[in-house]
């Protein structure tokens, strides 16, 4: 193999590799890098809903959510100040920063993000209303591994 060919192959490999990394990381929140969940986040937040990956909202949205836990989407989710502070810092540190998640969605709802709406546009309206689904916030109704942060399309089963 000539030296020139090897260099060319290395450069091509690098370009393809970077392109893939970009597709995986920069697309949207559903491909957000998985970070190990803070135990307090798991314990406090995932008692009522799936532990939404922190990368699915920008830091400004998380700050607003954490600053008003006593009025949390219709329920009182207030925490003691120490727990709230720790969770808030962790969410900010791991918040979404890549292009489509940088936008703060209406009402700071993941489900109102443009990328979320687009990703779910093929889900029939009736499916959302099924009693086992009920709400777009119920990720685990279709994403069986949502509690492990896995939102891969291959593992989606829309209940009939």
């Amino acid at each position: 193999m000539s030296h020139r060919f090897r260099v060319l192959r290395a450069v091509l490999g690098l370009i393809v590799g970077l392109g893939l990394a970009h597709a995986v990381l920069a697309d949207d929140g559903s491909r957000a890098p998985q970070v190990p969940l803070l135990p307090a986040y798991q314990q406090e937040c995932a008692a009522c809903h799936v532990a939404y990956p922190p990368g699915m909202l920008p830091a400004a949205s998380w700050q607003r959510v954490m600053g008003n836990l006593s009025h949390h989407y219709g329920t009182d989710a207030s925490l003691d100040p120490a727990a709230a502070k720790a969770i808030s810092a962790w969410l900010s540190a791991n918040a979404g920063t890549y292009k489509r998640v940088r936008e703060e969605p209406p009402e700071d709802r993941i489900t109102r993000s443009a990328w979320f709406v687009r990703k779910h546009d093929e889900v029939p309206a009736a499916a959302w209303k099924r009693p086992v689904v009920k709400s777009a916030s119920n990720c685990a109704a279709c994403h069986a591994q949502a509690d492990q942060g896995d939102f891969n399309e291959r593992n989606v089963r829309i209940p009939r």
Binding site: C48, H49, V50, T75, A140
Partner: protein, 133 residues
């Protein structure tokens, strides 16, 4: 490990253990505490009434926990499963005073629009303790 580190380690372990001991409780102890605060005997019937009926707002306790909370309930908005509330069916329930207070505070706010009184907490817990397999 040098001696000062060992002392620090032992102290930290002791504090952690004490903190756990301070929090852990039995449902009967928590009930006794609420009753003593209320200064009256609890009523399981009143507890059931409070738990299963709406208090002028959208949700009752039963909306998420079920009318007979001996089975897994379901969050009224998110659909997330919620473990049974009756201690005989879920040994984790009412074994941590701080956790118990946190959930009463939040959920009474959602259901009743204010915090529950010690008497109301005693009533609900006394009813939950009547539910047996």
């Amino acid at each position: 490990m040098n001696p000062s580190n060992i002392i620090r380690f032992v102290a930290a372990t002791l504090i952690a253990t004490l903190a756990t001991v301070a929090h852990s409780a039995t449902p009967a102890e928590l009930l006794a505490g609420f009753s003593a605060q209320a200064g009256a005997a609890p009523s399981p019937d009143r507890g059931q009434q409070l738990f299963t009926t709406r208090q002028g707002r959208e949700w009752s306790c039963a909306s998420c926990h079920g009318v007979v909370p001996t089975q897994t309930g379901k969050h009224a908005t998110t659909g997330k499963p919620i473990g049974a509330m009756a201690p005989a069916f879920n040994p984790e329930r009412f074994t941590d005073a701080a956790k118990t207070e946190k959930w009463f505070r939040r959920n009474c706010n959602d259901v009743v629009g204010r915090e529950c009184s010690a008497a109301e907490k005693a009533d609900v817990l006394s009813w939950l303790l009547t539910l047996k397999p």
